[in-house]
């Protein structure tokens, strides 16, 4: 609904008055007027904002029962489980429920005809802070209180110091108490007491970030910076320290981004490198094997949803690993047996054949499953991230891909170097005729190697699920890039593929901030084309007789 002042003017004015009455009452430590508070939450943006801000400031002194209650109501508001009906608010167990409990009285009533207010962004930020404060003060477990503290840390500038002090004094967990004390100390940046300010500056520089740098830089405008040498010295040292940490963090981020992009490239290209090296077949359907791997992952998820206990659902991504490998390998072997087997002497025709296969697979999946993005329930180990150092955040989905690529690399090397199949593959790659003379069944080796290469692409599909959208066309985006990796690395060497992937990934990430993403791609690809014109065999050429 429009919350225009015209339509709701009178009501808003009344609510505004109510909240003005409510706030001083809170500040004095008197019991919270719950009715007025919920009425205000049902008001327009300004009224909501005032009420939530009021409760945040009052939390430093209010009764803990009231604080806990306010936290519950605010969480319901944030999750749109709060419905306004008449003059009161109902709390729902879940959004869309038929009945709710009256926030003030606890009576259960039907919600029909009610209105669930939508929070504006400013009000949402305030409500998050206030509900975080409530969890910190009244949360029953350490984890809940720590989560509350994390929320407050994000918006430390809007948190009253008294609130932190109250929390620190009431806290029982020693670890949390230390964090709280540090946070309270850093909140004193604008304190009148010079000693506490210096302490605050040091505390802020303890946890460096770009935001901390901005907060500290702002102090340079303070008159004390000109007059007080101690203040100046402390601030300059803190700034230098933060700046250094931030640039180290940024460097780590560049490394991490490059590594994760390289992992994706490597996984997409590893299977290709083997197939191309062994058979000289340009497999344009390789991207579609990645897609098959991703769809197999989806299939495993759906199977888990239907058949396994809900608690196991998070494990589907790991369970999908063998399934995706086998699915892609199976399709690969079938294609090899049905089509490519007849085309080994005609590599350019096999190129067209694999293009037709890729068209077939894309459209087959599109007709069978649909063209929309698939819906994945992402387990916690591949969603979100953790700030590691300064502004450097490690995102779990990328870390998953990096680890996956590392395992793929090791597995591939082990199979190629330590198994009979690997020996055969290497022998056929280096000299097909001689290998055949020695009794190696080259056709069988081809088929198994093609299956293995396809399976590797299927594995890439698993690793990509948490990173990219999964739809029938997802594989097409990889094909040019992964061929560049293979050719640049040198045909038939996994190590070459790895080095090329690292090089291309790193170059992209380094150029992107300077000239933009489009130019980065153009520059890198153009560079590779030039390089290959000079050195067509790539970085690492396998010696072979043909």
């Amino acid at each position: 609904m429009a919350e225009g002042p015209g339509r709701f003017g009178l009501v808003a004015l009344l609510l505004w008055a109510a909240s003005l009455v409510a706030s001083p009452a809170l500040a004095a430590g008197a019991p919270l007027d719950r009715g007025a508070f919920t009425t205000a939450l049902c008001g327009d943006g300004a009224v909501q904002g005032t009420a939530v801000e009021g409760i945040l400031h009052a939390s430093a002194e209010a009764e803990s029962g009231d604080v806990a209650w306010a936290g519950t109501v605010l969480r319901a508001l944030l999750e749109r489980r709060l419905t306004c009906l008449g003059g009161s608010a109902l709390l729902l167990d879940r959004a869309g429920a038929a009945d709710g409990r009256d926030a003030a009285t606890g009576a259960v009533r039907p919600v029909a005809g009610g209105r669930a207010p939508v929070l504006g962004l400013r009000q949402r930020a305030l409500a998050e802070t206030a509900s975080g404060a409530a969890s910190l003060l009244t949360g029953s477990g350490v984890a809940a209180r720590r989560a509350g503290l994390a929320t407050l840390e994000r918006r430390i500038t809007s948190v009253p110091e008294a609130l932190l002090l109250r929390a620190a004094s009431a806290e029982t967990d020693p670890g949390l108490k230390v964090s709280l004390a540090a946070l309270a100390q850093s909140a004193a940046l604008s304190s009148a007491d010079p000693a506490r300010r210096l302490g605050a500056i040091r505390a802020v520089s303890e946890s460096p970030s770009g935001a901390a740098f901005s907060r500290l830089s702002a102090l340079k405008a303070d008159p004390a910076y000109g007059s007080d040498p101690a203040f100046r010295g402390t601030l300059d040292a803190a700034l230098a320290r933060v700046a250094r940490a931030v640039s180290i963090g940024d460097g780590l981020a560049v490394l991490y981004n490059g590594l994760s992009f390289a992992s994706i490239l490597f996984m997409a290209a590893a299977g290709l490198a083997i197939i191309f090296g062994l058979m000289g077949v340009i497999n344009l359907a390789q991207g579609e094997f990645i897609m098959i791997g991703a769809y197999a992952t989806y299939g495993v998820q759906e199977a888990f949803r239907r058949l396994a206990p809900p608690a196991w659902l998070d494990a589907y991504l790991l369970a999908a690993i063998p399934v995706a490998f086998l699915a892609a390998a199976g399709v690969g072997i079938a294609i090899e047996a049905l089509i490519l087997r007849h085309l080994y002497r005609r590599p350019l025709m096999s190129l067209l054949a694999t293009w037709a296969v890729s068209l077939l697979l894309i459209n087959g999946v599109r007709v069978a499953v649909g063209s929309q993005n698939l819906q994945f329930a992402m387990p916690p180990y591949v969603s979100g991230g953790v700030p590691l150092y300064a502004d450097f955040v490690v995102t779990w989905n990328r870390l998953f891909a990096i680890a996956f690529a590392a395992v793929t690399l090791v597995l591939t090397l082990v199979i190629l170097k330590r198994t009979p199949l690997g020996l055969d593959i290497r022998a056929v790659t280096q000299n097909r005729d001689m290998a055949a003379c020695l009794g190696i069944r080259t056709r069988r080796v081809d088929r198994l190697a093609f299956g293995f290469g396809s399976g590797l692409a299927g594995l890439a599909g698993v690793a990509l699920c948490p990173i990219y959208s999964v739809n029938p066309g997802m594989g097409a985006t990889f094909i040019v890039d992964s061929f560049m990796v293979v050719v640049l690395g040198g045909v038939g060497t996994v190590v070459g593929t790895l080095v090329a992937a690292l090089g291309i990934g790193g170059a992209n990430v380094l150029i992107e901030p300077l000239y933009g993403a489009v130019a980065a791609k153009v520059i890198v690809l153009a560079g590779i084309i030039l390089f290959l014109q000079r050195r067509p065999e790539g970085l690492f050429a396998v010696r072979r007789r043909r």
């Binding site: 609904m1 429009a2 919350e3 225009g4 015209g6 943006g45 300004a46 999750e79 749109r80 959004a95 939508v118 929070l119 504006g120 962004l121 400013r122 949402r124 930020a125 998050e128 994000r154 918006r155 770009g210 740098f213 901005s214 940024d250 560049v254 981004n257 994760s260 992009f261 994706i264 599109r366 063209s371 929309q372 993005n373 698939l374 994945f376 992402m378 969603s383 979100g384 991230g385 700030p387 502004d391 955040v393 995102t395 779990w396 989905n397 990328r398 990173i467 990219y468 959208s469 999964v470 739809n471 066309g473 992209n508 990430v509 992107e512 901030p513 933009g516 993403a517 489009v518 791609k521």
Partner: protein, 408 residues
């Protein structure tokens, strides 16, 4: 599928000698409308559903006795997301099928491809998408809003106290005309408001780009700088939207830290995403599914019933702005044709000024005489946990469309 091209091919010999022979017998009591929406290729997932909306609207009108006593027949096609094919099929529709009006195109480039065709044949194209503006052909009806009357109000809202008091802006767009034009106009608008040039940054990515790590890093360090509340104006399109949102959430940025205003973001882009960490991000359209209006309730149930009855391969409970705009297009055409008492394009065109239609958004659409644009309301939506949008703000009335932006 209506095989008009098949007839075109099989009947080549007949056409060469006597084009009049293949005129269908029932031509006297029907009038044809043509659709130019792809059901295959890159645009299929979003564009394909508009074919069905046009048919549904035509069915609705036919149930009420048609227009000017004639039944409406809808001719669909598949331009396969191939821009020249839009022009090709548009030409066939106008010359061979003699359609009274065309409804079609999603991307600007497809519209630009069809534009000369409708102008040469003096046809009429109803275009249901928002776009970069700066165009006003007498042969095109622009049913959605130009940026000056949709994007600017939304940005204004975010800059105001009621929004977040945005002071700094990070623009991320796909590298093509629509994002570039929008950003150009925004920059001129901010300059006119006294926002310094240091307060914004502009980055473009290739179409279909998906590796947003570095860009989100840059946004985080931009956000950490002093100078006031930052927001992201997102004009990437297609599969880049979910990939950007996922990376944004994974790096731990919430809407309450740095809100995203996604100008091309619709429900379909949130499919396959966990939207809990994305709650609060914004979009801006002339219609949102959550619009409170009786016409909307009717439309939603009509669509759900139509999907069920005809086995339409799209979601029965997702309705996005371009679908409603396509529906409005058919209604506007029918109103104009009825008012003119004719299907001739010049007559229909003369009937446009003064048309009024209460559409599902709850606003009354109007067409003035100055241009071929339709006045629509503005909604700002806020992402919720259920992969949809709640209405955060809506304009008090439908602002007058300004096709040629005064900014930039």
């Amino acid at each position: 599928m209506v095989g008009f091209t098949r007839r075109g091919f099989l009947g080549t010999a007949a056409t060469l000698s006597a084009p009049a022979l293949i005129r269908p017998a029932w031509a006297a009591d029907t009038v044809k409308l043509g659709c130019l929406f792809s059901s295959s290729g890159t645009m299929a997932n979003i564009e394909g559903r508009l074919n069905y909306v046009v048919r549904m609207a035509a069915d609705g009108l036919n149930a009420k006795g048609g227009v000017n006593g004639r039944r409406i027949e809808v001719v669909t096609s598949d331009p396969a997301s191939d821009w020249p094919l839009y022009a090709q099929i548009g030409r066939q529709m106008l010359q061979q099928e003699k359609v009274a009006a065309l409804f079609g195109c999603w991307t600007s480039v497809s519209r630009k491809s069809v534009l000369p065709v409708v102008e040469q044949n003096d046809g009429l194209l109803f275009y249901p998408l928002h776009f970069e503006g700066d165009e006003n052909s007498k042969n095109v009806v622009y049913v959605n809003s130009p940026p000056a009357s949709s994007v600017l109000p939304a940005v204004d809202y975010l800059m105001g106290a009621e929004g977040v008091g945005a002071k700094r802006f990070f623009m991320v767009g796909s590298d093509y005309v629509w994002p570039r034009t929008i950003n150009k106009q925004l920059k001129a608008y901010w300059t006119s408001k006294g926002v310094p040039e240091t307060a914004w940054r502009e980055e473009y990515v290739p179409l279909g780009f998906s590796n947003f790590q570095t860009l989100v890093n840059q946004i985080r360090s931009f956000a950490a700088q002093p100078g006031g509340q930052p927001i992201v104006v997102l004009t990437v399109v297609g599969s880049s939207i979910p990939d950007f949102l996922r990376e944004f959430a994974n790096q731990g940025i919430r809407a309450t830290d740095v809100p995203i205003l996604g100008l091309d973001m619709v429900e379909a882009d949130l499919e396959g995403l966990d939207t809990a960490p994305l709650v609060g991000h914004l979009n801006c359209w002339a219609y949102l599914q959550a619009a409170k209006a009786e016409a909307n309730t009717t439309f939603l149930s009509e669509w759900a019933a139509y999907v069920k009855a005809k086995g339409v391969p799209f979601s029965a409970d997702t309705v996005i702005d371009p679908m409603v705009s396509a529906y409005d297009s058919v209604q506007l055409w029918a109103l104009a044709a009825a008012k003119a008492g004719s299907f001739d394009v010049p007559e229909v065109r003369k009937a446009f000024p003064g048309l009024r239609f209460a559409d599902p958004s709850g606003y009354t659409l109007t067409m003035g005489g100055e241009n071929n644009y339709v006045a629509r309301g503005v909604f700002i939506g806020s992402v919720n946990e259920k992969q949809g949008f709640d209405i955060l703000w809506q304009s008090p009335d439908a602002p007058k469309p300004v096709p040629f932006s005064p900014y930039g």
